[in-house]
């Protein structure tokens, strides 16, 4: 990491994959650093991506820590910086500083069953955990992945999710019926309720729109999951990423430094400022 905490490293966009079309589309960017100038990260950490002349945005690192050749960022087009990133082409240069934040405590979950529940672009922050768990398949019990999007066209990582089958039970959902759709129709929390998960020796990890997270947690608790068995990752507006600019706090915690990963046992007692 650079000695100057605000100075990003320059990195090259090696590849871009269209995930979801539309005005609020999602693209995945594979970013490479010059030899020896990259950084290691942990599952759940984020990085600040710069487009010079536009600004910076905090984005989850979606690749697994074991992948050293590139960092993967899956970005929804929402504002000035993310629109500028969406307009970039392979070979273009972005600034990257990080990694920031805490991590999912995957090392404590060995031998346990893992239930992942994602919605929309909220699959990206938990994707490195899913990838790491599947790559070390023998270390874990049963792995289940729930993922939902508005329509079948809005499903991100579609091929990669299909490729998980065999290693994991994959349960996809879309909000409303479509011709030819084989999976569940309805919201993500309803899909989870439809396929009850045992809390025995299990950990649940969820990320998605706030309203989805709220009902997923409610349903997990209904199935007997304890607060300590439920993990999520939250987001807030950030400028510095290093606990100084003062805006991403929920109570005394700066999400950029103390978060973004929290167990429900921690989060339920924090002010709901996220």
């Amino acid at each position: 990491m650079s000695k100057n905490i605000y100075l990003p490293k320059l990195a090259r966009i090696a590849g871009i994959k269209d995930e979801v079309p539309g005005a609020r589309g999602i693209k995945t960017f594979f970013v490479e650093f010059p030899d020896g100038d990259g950084f290691e990260h942990e599952c759940g950490q984020c990085a600040m991506i710069s487009v010079f002349g536009k600004g910076e945005s905090m984005i989850s690192i979606a690749s697994a820590p074991a992948v050293k050749e590139y960092k993967q960022f899956s970005i929804m087009r929402t504002g000035r910086v993310t629109t500028a990133i969406h307009d970039m082409k392979p070979g273009d240069i972005v600034g990257v500083r990080g990694p920031y934040g805490n991590k999912f405590p995957l090392e404590n979950w060995k031998g346990r069953n893992l239930v992942f529940i994602g919605g929309g672009v909220g699959l990206a922050p938990i994707w490195p955990v899913i990838q790491t768990a599947v790559a070390n398949r023998a270390d874990f019990g049963k792995i289940s992945v729930f993922y939902g999007a508005r329509t079948s066209r809005d499903i991100m990582y579609a091929e990669a999710l299909e490729a998980l089958r065999g290693a994991a039970d994959v349960h996809l959902s879309i909000d409303a019926p479509e011709e030819g759709w084989q999976g569940f129709c309805g919201f993500v929390p309803a899909n989870l309720l439809d396929k009850p998960q045992s809390p025995d020796n299990a950990v649940a990890v969820t990320c998605g729109p706030p309203i989805m997270i709220k009902f997923v947690i409610k349903n997990l608790i209904g199935m007997g999951f304890a607060d300590e068995q439920i993990y999520t990752t939250i987001e807030n507006k950030m400028k510095c990423g290093v606990g100084k600019c003062g805006r991403c706090n929920a109570g005394k915690d700066y999400v950029c430094v103390n978060g973004p990963v929290y167990s429900w046992a921690q989060l339920k007692d924090m002010p709901q400022e996220y």
Partner: protein, 348 residues
């Protein structure tokens, strides 16, 4: 190191220091007290109340360039780091509340990830404090938040006005340097000087101030009343001008933005500016969702940051009791009153 300076030699000290540094002292300029650069041979008089703006700006300026960027069409971006290389500065007339606020700012900018811009300036700036003989503002409440009119922390030198002279106490290596630089102006402090200074301090501490009645219970009261509808009532008059935090000596929140001077080829600066938790945009997500949507939630953030969260994170109140946020609030929002109300309220 404790020495005596005759009052009429203060200008000579400033002039001597001016040979190797920029010297600032409070002056009444454009209807307000402001830290103002002392020109060579200029007068220095320490007869001010408190400055409208705090002393933090010498170390954490309202706007600063973090780095410059440029990019030719089809080329790669080039970044040029712009770490501060301002001349050394000596700031006279700093009130102890502003000195203590720098201790709070040090915690923010040097704990965890060290901020090289802040650190570079902090090393170059010497704060020469002036003990308060009486509260410089009717809204002073330093005693309620662990401070005092002669508090030394965060300062490099503390001066106390005695009859016809100053009792000058160097507190840090930087402070000793600026005394030694003009050693011929000073005489050694005698026991009688010290006891006179002590009685000035004692008198100042017994001077009536505004007061938070049970400071040790305020953090708990704020926690208990986090969801209280009282916040909306307290903030009803707030116009969101942000004067409270811009003028606060320990508010450190900032924004980072790109300012461009040329679109093609691209050229510009990444700039840090003071930002303000009283503005709705401060926390608004790109989606439009805002975790602190109401003025009540934003007032609660300011008060809780000062008197609850900072205590939880650093074991001290962030507020140092200067009273500026009360004095300069156009609608009379009052942190002392709020602390007392929240400490007493039973909670929801």
């Amino acid at each position: 190191m404790e020495v005596i300076l005759k009052k009429d030699r203060l200008g000579e000290w400033a002039a001597k220091l001016g040979e190797g540094a920029d010297v600032f002292a409070p002056a009444f300029v454009e209807d307000c007290w402001a830290f103002t650069k002392v020109e060579p041979g200029g007068e220095v008089a320490l007869d001010h109340g408190n400055t409208v703006r705090p002393a933090k700006g010498f170390v954490f300026p309202q706007r600063e360039v973090l780095y410059r960027f440029s990019q030719d069409s089809g080329g790669a971006p080039r970044l040029t780091e712009t770490l501060p290389d301002d001349p050394r500065a000596v700031v006279f007339g700093v009130r102890p509340c502003d000195g203590r606020a720098m201790v709070r700012n040090d915690k923010v900018f040097t704990c965890g990830f060290a901020d090289p811009y802040y650190q570079a300036r902090r090393e170059r700036v010497a704060y020469v404090g002036l003990a308060c003989a009486e509260p410089p503002s009717p809204n002073c409440f330093c005693l309620s938040v662990g401070g005092s009119p002669d508090a030394e922390d965060g300062l490099d030198v503390l001066m106390t006005e005695l009859d016809g002279r100053y009792y000058v106490k160097a507190l840090t290596a930087k402070g000793k340097d600026i005394v030694v630089a003009a050693s011929s102006l000073f005489s050694e402090a005698q026991p009688a000087d010290r006891s006179e200074a002590e009685s000035v301090h004692a008198a100042a501490r017994s001077h009536p101030q505004r007061s938070i009645a049970a400071m040790d219970k305020v953090a708990e009261g704020l926690k208990r009343n986090f969801d209280s509808p009282e916040w909306d009532a307290l903030a009803r008059a707030c116009i969101g001008c942000g004067a409270c935090t811009y003028l606060c000596p320990s508010c450190h929140c900032f924004d980072i933005n790109d300012e461009i001077t040329s679109r093609s080829p691209l050229a510009g600066e990444r700039v840090r500016t003071w930002d303000n938790c009283q503005f709705p945009e401060f926390t608004m997500h790109t989606s439009g969702h805002n975790p602190r949507e109401t003025t009540g939630a934003r007032l609660r953030q300011r008060i809780c940051h000062k008197l609850l969260y900072f205590v939880e994170n650093h074991n001290i109140q962030q507020c140092t009791g200067c009273g500026r946020c009360i004095t300069h609030c156009p609608v009379g929002i009052d942190i002392v009153r709020i602390a007392n109300v929240m400490e007493e309220a039973a909670g929801q």
